[in-house]
Symmetry: C2
Subunit: 143 residues, 2 copies
């Protein structure tokens, strides 16, 4: 029998299919910064820019837009957001097929974390499993 | 004259020399998990594992250890920590030569952000500029 006091084996990152970043804005001024940032992201990264939600939707407690991206974009986009998010709170979460865990446990935050409405999430759905369909054509280096 | 209402140009990521992760523990139980995690990181990633601080040091408000790593480790280590931090708060910050900004503005958090003692940080020092000297020999894939 396995010794139940042994720590669980680490989870391999291959379960991550893609990532989502959510860029939040809470005021008119933040909204303007968020829109500037959205253009700058589109000019620099191969991502799927989602439409802008001016009211909170789903698990999100503030207006935001989503940036969906493939695993190989993580190491350029996330450091760039660290330097350029301009005071906006940003949630970055993996998509492993478990929406609740991905938004609440597996997530990282740049800036102040905002509340997540967990009651609309489950681990049984397959949200976030759609392949990324980039809609940007970068023209500027992010380095 | 430049139009001062124009947004500032984005900052290129080339100013990032390296990254630090700080893994915090606040209880005996968290300390045990942190030690397990430290071994697991050393088995999987080429990083510089720092010594364990059992009392808060510098800008850190809880016991922790540091994991210093090169830019090219970001996209394997950070997603792995997202899945495996086991409830511990983790600070990841770039090293750009501005310690205060790097810990407070440019940082990201996995789990609950902890207070940072900003009064011991400045943007004038050159902390974090030392080259990474890995002291691990990975034997396991993180994927």
């Amino acid at each position: 029998m396995a010794d139940m006091s042994e720590p669980a084996a680490p989870i391999g990152t291959r379960i991550i299919r893609s990532f989502h970043a959510h860029l939040y804005f809470r005021t008119t001024e933040e909204r303007e910064r968020a829109m500037t940032l959205r253009d700058q992201i589109g000019e620099r990264f191969v991502v799927q820019l989602g439409r802008v939600h001016f009211v909170p939707v789903g698990p999100h407690s503030a207006p935001m837009y989503q940036v969906a991206f493939a695993r190989n974009v993580f190491d350029t986009l996330v450091p760039w957001l660290m330097l350029n998010r301009d005071g906006l709170p940003v949630l970055v979460h993996p998509n492993t097929g478990k929406s609740l865990d991905d938004h609440v446990i597996n997530a990282l935050w740049l800036g102040d974390p905002l509340p997540i409405r967990r009651q609309v999430l489950t681990n049984d759905d397959d949200a976030g499993s759609s392949p990324i369909e980039p809609n940007t054509k970068p023209v500027v280096s992010s380095a």
